[in-house]
Each structure stands twice: as structure tokens, then as C-alpha cells.
């Protein structure tokens, strides 16, 4: 480098205090803290990658039905799902959906129960569950609010809706707010899926309404639900009334 290059300014990506790192863990002057920069948002270091594994135990095999209690309703539902497919393994995703509904999340207990009914190993089912965004391998609040922050919604303010929503339900025990990839409703963007019900277009005031409706157990933002929305193309309207 020649002398014309200006001196490099210290970068401020790690905050004022710059930690030393050891084995990926940031060590500050006053102890170990999590690295403040969101790193490794994707890939092998997603949360849980370093969960302790007890290597002294033998690998979990297909659970023994005699010693694994499975709620009767869950067992019947999973068996019905398996009967629909030429290969029972195809029912893995429907079965995990059922277990998540029953237990609230894909807990180790839920996984073992599914594994017991489907005659698969828990490891196999965990590998499937960890692939899909809708399965939660951590305890989660019962109500899901997926706020779309993909391209169309973010052009129209989806990120602000997400921030507001997160602010509102901060540490609320019953509401699970997360940003989600395109939910397939860009016509009502910015939008959210509240327990599977699509609502939009949202503005910042609607966020409070969503939280209030969920708490009161009412249908969420009924006048903005997708199910009542007519097709945008006026040529395709039927002659009378709403759907």
C-alpha cells in the first residue's frame, strides 16, 4: 500500500468496548458476555448447535411402546395420518404438527412419542423438525404472530410493523412474535399471520389491536382478514354479495 491511503479508523461494529475472543466466546474486561453482533445467523451455529450431548449414553433407538406412554388421542391421530400414505414415513411432518399442537412445542417428550408411534428414531424426527420453520424445538408461547418481512411487505413497512409488534408483546408469556419469510399474501402487505389467520394491510395502530384481540380471545382484526377479501380484479367479481 502506498502512503496515499488514509489511516484506517477503528470500526464500531462491536460497540465501544472491544472484547477479546476465545473459541468464539467474547470475553469482556468484566467477564464473558454474548457477542453483541448477530453472527452466524444461519448454518451450523444456529441456536442449539452447541447443546451438550451425553456421549456416554448409547444412541437413542426406536422407543419401546411398552415403556413410552403416548396420549391416546395423539396416537390415533398419528396412526390415521400414517394410513393415508403408501409409506408411513411420509407422515413425519403431519405427525410432528399433531405433536406440536398437543404439547405446544416439539419437546423431547413429544418427539419420543411420535417416534414410538411411527417406529422411527428420535434423532431422525429431530432432524426433520429442525429443518422446518413452523416446528419449534424450544418452548414457545401458544399464540404465533408471524409478521412478514419479505420484500413486498418490507417495501410497504413490514419491518416497522414487526418492530412495533415485538415492542408491544415484549416478554408476554402467551404471544410468540417472529418475523417470517413471504407468507404468500403480498396483496395485503404489510401483513401478518396470527395463529394461521392472515390479516392485512396493517398499520402501526393495528398491532395493539392484534395483541388486545388475542388477549380477549376474539377473532383477530376481523375487518382485515384475508378470508373476507374479494379478488382485486373487478372483472372476476360475482354479481352479488360478499363471499
Amino acid at each position: 500500500m502506498s502512503a496515499t491511503r488514509p489511516p484506517r479508523q477503528p470500526q464500531q461494529t462491536l460497540g465501544a468496548e472491544r472484547p477479546t475472543t476465545f473459541a468464539g466466546v467474547a470475553i469482556f474486561a468484566d467477564g464473558i458476555k454474548p457477542t453483541p453482533v448477530p453472527r452466524y445467523q444461519h448454518g451450523s451455529r444456529v441456536p442449539g448447535w452447541d447443546d451438550a450431548v451425553d456421549l456416554t449414553k448409547p444412541p437413542a433407538t426406536i422407543p419401546d411402546p411398552a415403556t413410552t406412554p403416548v396420549p391416546e388421542s395423539l396416537r390415533t391421530a398419528i396412526e390415521a395420518a400414517m394410513a393415508k400414505y403408501p409409506d408411513r414415513r411420509s407422515a413425519a411432518i403431519p405427525a410432528l404438527h399433531l405433536a406440536q399442537q398437543h404439547h405446544g412445542w416439539c419437546s423431547p417428550e413429544a418427539i419420543v412419542q411420535v417416534a414410538c408411534v411411527m417406529r422411527l428414531t428420535p434423532a431422525y424426527l429431530t432432524s426433520v423438525a429442525s429443518f422446518y420453520d413452523m416446528f419449534s424445538l424450544r418452548p414457545k408461547p401458544p399464540h404465533d404472530v408471524y409478521v412478514c418481512t419479505n420484500i413486498t411487505c418490507s417495501l410497504l413497512g413490514g419491518d416497522e410493523i414487526h418492530e412495533r409488534m415485538v415492542e408491544l408483546v415484549h416478554d408476554h408469556p402467551d404471544l410468540n412474535v417472529c418475523s417470517f419469510e413471504c407468507l404468500g399474501a403480498c396483496d395485503i402487505g404489510p401483513m401478518a399471520s396470527v395463529d394461521g389467520e392472515y390479516v392485512g394491510p396493517l398499520n402501526l395502530e393495528d398491532c395493539e389491536q392484534i395483541a388486545a384481540d388475542l388477549e380477549a380471545g376474539r377473532p383477530v382484526l376481523e375487518h382485515k382478514q384475508l378470508r373476507f377479501r374479494r379478488c382485486a380484479d373487478p372483472r372476476s367479481h360475482g354479481d352479488e354479495g360478499q363471499l
Binding site: Q9, G184, C186, D233, R235, G238, L243
Partner: protein
């Protein structure tokens, strides 16, 4: 005025029930089809020139003709995992007229001698899944599904399978793996699914809109259907217009309609009279076009010639009030999140593209990074099992190419903000020669 084939009075109350659908002439195409030999049904579809509406634009008749003849179990899979950002056309069909899709599936299965069919719907579509489930039950009751359909001796089982939130499961082989109860990783092709797909059997995979068009083709005849649209892009297409337009939504157009007419006349154009900066003609995976391309006719071949693609027919409009850098970061982040991680160019390329774009934002980039970014995109394209990586590389590559001056201005402004110093000649030109 365009004849509406799919969206004709789709808002009619109760159209999701069999009673209303049949009153409107529903299932008449199925009755007509079962009166024809199966090969003639496939011939009608071939004659219509119907091209796949899911993204690749492959001719459905040709795909069906690839299925081997014989007694082995064959499968049909309807791809309803509509997760391409910007696309929401299948949602409207499944929610409002599920029987049209089911009728199309039954006709295709009759033609291709298939006895088991699946609809793979994305897990987020709860309402649409419920609508389909109800409609499938009604179709079983009426004897359109199950044993001996309408006295033909043909039997068909139709199963609705709900996914669990993964973009990659919209890729046909990823979808098959997911349907087999595995992680949705794409498979190496060939063998193509038509030869060896679901449970190792020959599998026909089609998009919702493609299959929903089949009853209309049988009703009006393949040759008549081919009269609509252009010579190589026949028929009507649902376009999902979203983003900076006044009336976002689904519109049914004749292929070959000028793009300006779709964006301005149907969807109302950008609010506030703003100019269009860029638009994606076929979902977020398609290379971007600018306002100079607005007069191009909207069909498969013209879009390909313009360096982009018609894809799933999702037009995303971005007007001049938005920064192109924000669009690029959103795009790259999405593909980095959704990359399944099986192929290195895609897994690493998407993540490094996000990092390079963030460096622009934080003032650490130089214009040389744009060259590096462009070279990463060319290394992804064509080097993976599926096109997810390409789906990021193509739009990002085109953004870097078409909006380079704006990105360079962003780089300079960000360096000023962050205090990383102004660009000297040396930094601006970089050490490109010695690195590459």
C-alpha cells in the same frame, strides 16, 4: 377484453362448495374427459401448448408424455407450496375455487393412468388447506374420487399434505423428499421425477394453476385454447402484482399483454405518481427489469429475451422512493435463510452475498466489492443441484449490473457516514488486477 378462464366470477358466494361449482358447469370437463381415451386427454393438453405456471414454464403435455407406460405405481403431485416471494395466485384458486383444482387433478390422473395423487400445500396456508380438505371430502362423496370414478374403472386417491414452512420444498425434488417425510433437500437430476420421483416411482409434478387450467382446456378443446395468447405462450395467466402499486392483487391476463397495461391499467401504478425504479417480472428470483422494459409484452419468450423470466407470474414493483440496496439486502437475506445447505456454492454464496451487501451499508465496502459480488453470482449459477442459489444470483447480478452507479454512490455515502475515509483512486480501482 380477456376471456376469464380461471377467475370467471371467482368471488361468487359459496363457489368453494360442490353444489355451486356444479351449478356453474363444474365437473363437466371431467365427464367429457372420461368419455375420451386417456391418450386423447394428454393429446388435448399437448395441443393446448399449456406451459407450467410454477416457474420453469415447461410444457405440461410434454412432461406427462415422459411418464413411462406400464403397470408400476405412478404418482401425481400438485405443487401448492407457493412460497416464491411476490406470488399469491394459487392461494386465491385454492381458497375460492378448490374444486377446479381437484377436477384438473382427476383429469390429469385419468390421462396419465395415475392412481395416487398428493397436494403439497405450504403449512402457512391454513384456511386454504381447510377449504381443500372440505372439497376433497365432497369429491369423494360424489364419486369423483375413490374407486371406479364415473364408471370408468379408474381409481384415484387424493391426499392433502401440509408442509411446515420451507421455501426449498417448492423445488420439485425438495418437495418429493419432504413428502417422503425427510428434510426437504433437493435431489440430483437426472433421473427426473417423471422417470423416478416419489417413492422411486414415475411422478408428474405440476403447479396449482397449471392443473386448474386443465378443465378449461378439456372444455374448450386444446386447439381453441392455443388460440389465446401468443404462439409460444398460450392461454391466460394469473399475475400477482404487488409492491408499490395502488391496487395490488391477482389479475388474469392473456399472455402477451403489454407489461405497462398490467402494472398501470390493472394495478394502478405506483401511488403518488412516482416513477418505477425496477420491477421483478416473475417473482423475486427473476432478474430485475427497469422502466425502459415496461412496453414489453408479458409472455415467456419476450421476458427470456429481455434477460429475465416470467417465472411464477409475480410482478413486484419498486418505485423510486426505495433504495436499491435495501431491496438487494432483503433478497439476499431471504435466500441465505432458505438455502438448505446441501450445495456449497449456494450455501456459502448466499451468505457471503449478504455479508458483502452489509459491508456496503456499514461503510466497509469499496466498488471493488461489487465486482467480487458479481463474480460470486456467476459462480453460483448452474453449479448446484437446484436453482435456489441461481434464484438469488440472477436478481442480485442484474441489480449490480443495472444499478451500479447508485450502489457506488451508496458505498461512498456510507464510507463518509462511518468515517472509513473517502475513496482514493487506489481504493476505487482497487487491486483488482493482482487479486484476479
Amino acid at each position: 377484453m380477456t376471456t376469464l378462464l380461471l377467475f370467471d366470477k371467482i368471488d361468487e358466494p359459496g363457489l368453494y362448495t360442490r353444489a355451486v361449482y356444479e351449478r356453474r358447469g363444474g365437473y363437466s370437463a371431467l365427464r367429457k374427459a372420461v368419455g375420451m381415451p386417456p391418450a386423447a386427454v394428454i393429446q388435448e393438453i399437448s395441443d393446448s401448448g399449456l406451459r407450467g405456471r410454477g416457474g420453469a414454464g415447461f410444457r405440461m403435455g410434454q412432461k406427462a408424455s415422459f411418464l413411462p407406460k406400464g403397470d408400476m405405481p405412478k404418482y401425481l403431485t400438485c405443487n401448492a407450496d407457493e412460497s416464491e416471494p411476490g406470488t399469491f395466485k394459487d392461494r386465491e384458486i385454492m381458497q375460492k375455487c378448490p374444486h377446479m383444482l381437484i377436477e384438473g387433478i382427476i383429469i390429469a390422473c385419468y390421462g396419465a393412468a395415475i392412481n395416487t395423487a398428493f397436494i403439497y400445500i405450504r403449512g402457512e396456508y391454513v384456511l386454504q388447506g381447510d377449504m381443500l380438505e372440505g372439497a376433497i371430502a365432497e369429491a369423494y362423496e360424489a364419486g369423483y374420487l375413490g374407486e371406479n370414478i364415473l364408471g370408468t374403472g379408474h381409481h384415484l386417491e387424493l391426499v392433502l399434505h401440509r408442509g411446515a414452512g420451507a421455501y426449498i420444498c417448492g423445488e420439485e425434488t425438495g418437495l418429493l423428499d419432504s413428502l417422503e417425510g425427510k428434510r426437504g433437500n433437493p435431489r440430483l437430476k437426472p433421473p427426473f421425477p417423471a422417470v423416478q420421483g416419489l417413492y422411486q416411482g414415475p411422478t408428474l409434478i405440476n403447479n396449482v394453476e397449471t392443473l386448474a387450467t386443465v378443465p378449461a382446456i378439456i372444455n374448450m378443446g386444446g386447439k381453441d385454447y392455443a388460440q389465446i395468447g401468443t404462439a409460444t405462450s398460450t392461454g391466460t395467466k394469473l399475475v400477482s402484482v404487488s409492491g408499490d402499486v395502488q391496487r395490488p392483487g391477482n389479475y388474469e391476463i392473456e399472455l402477451g399483454t403489454p407489461s405497462r397495461e398490467i402494472i398501470y391499467d390493472l394495478a394502478g401504478g405506483p401511488p403518488g405518481g412516482h416513477e418505477i425504479k425496477l420491477w421483478f417480472p416473475g417473482g423475486s428470483s427473476s432478474p430485475v427489469l427497469t422502466k425502459d422494459d415496461l412496453d414489453l409484452p408479458y409472455d415467456f419468450d419476450t421476458m427470456a429475451k429481455a434477460g429475465s423470466m416470467l417465472g411464477s407470474g409475480a410482478i413486484i414493483v419498486v418505485d423510486e422512493t426505495h433504495r436499491v440496496l435495501d431491496v438487494a439486502i432483503k433478497l439476499a437475506k431471504f435466500y441465505a435463510h432458505e438455502s438448505c445447505g446441501k450445495c456449497v456454492p449456494c450455501r456459502e454464496g448466499t451468505n457471503w452475498t449478504v455479508k458483502m451487501l452489509r459491508r456496503i451499508e456499514s461503510g466497509e465496502a469499496t466498488p471493488m466489492d461489487l465486482d467480487l459480488m458479481a463474480s460470486v453470482q456467476t459462480l453460483i449459477i448452474g453449479n448446484c443441484l437446484c436453482v435456489l442459489g441461481d434464484a438469488m444470483a440472477m436478481p442480485i447480478g442484474s441489480i449490480v449490473e443495472k444499478f451500479r452507479p447508485e450502489l457506488e454512490a451508496e458505498i461512498e455515502a456510507a464510507r463518509e457516514r462511518a468515517g472509513t475515509g473517502p475513496l482514493t483512486d487506489e481504493l476505487a480501482v482497487g487491486v483488482t488486477d493482482s487479486v484476479f
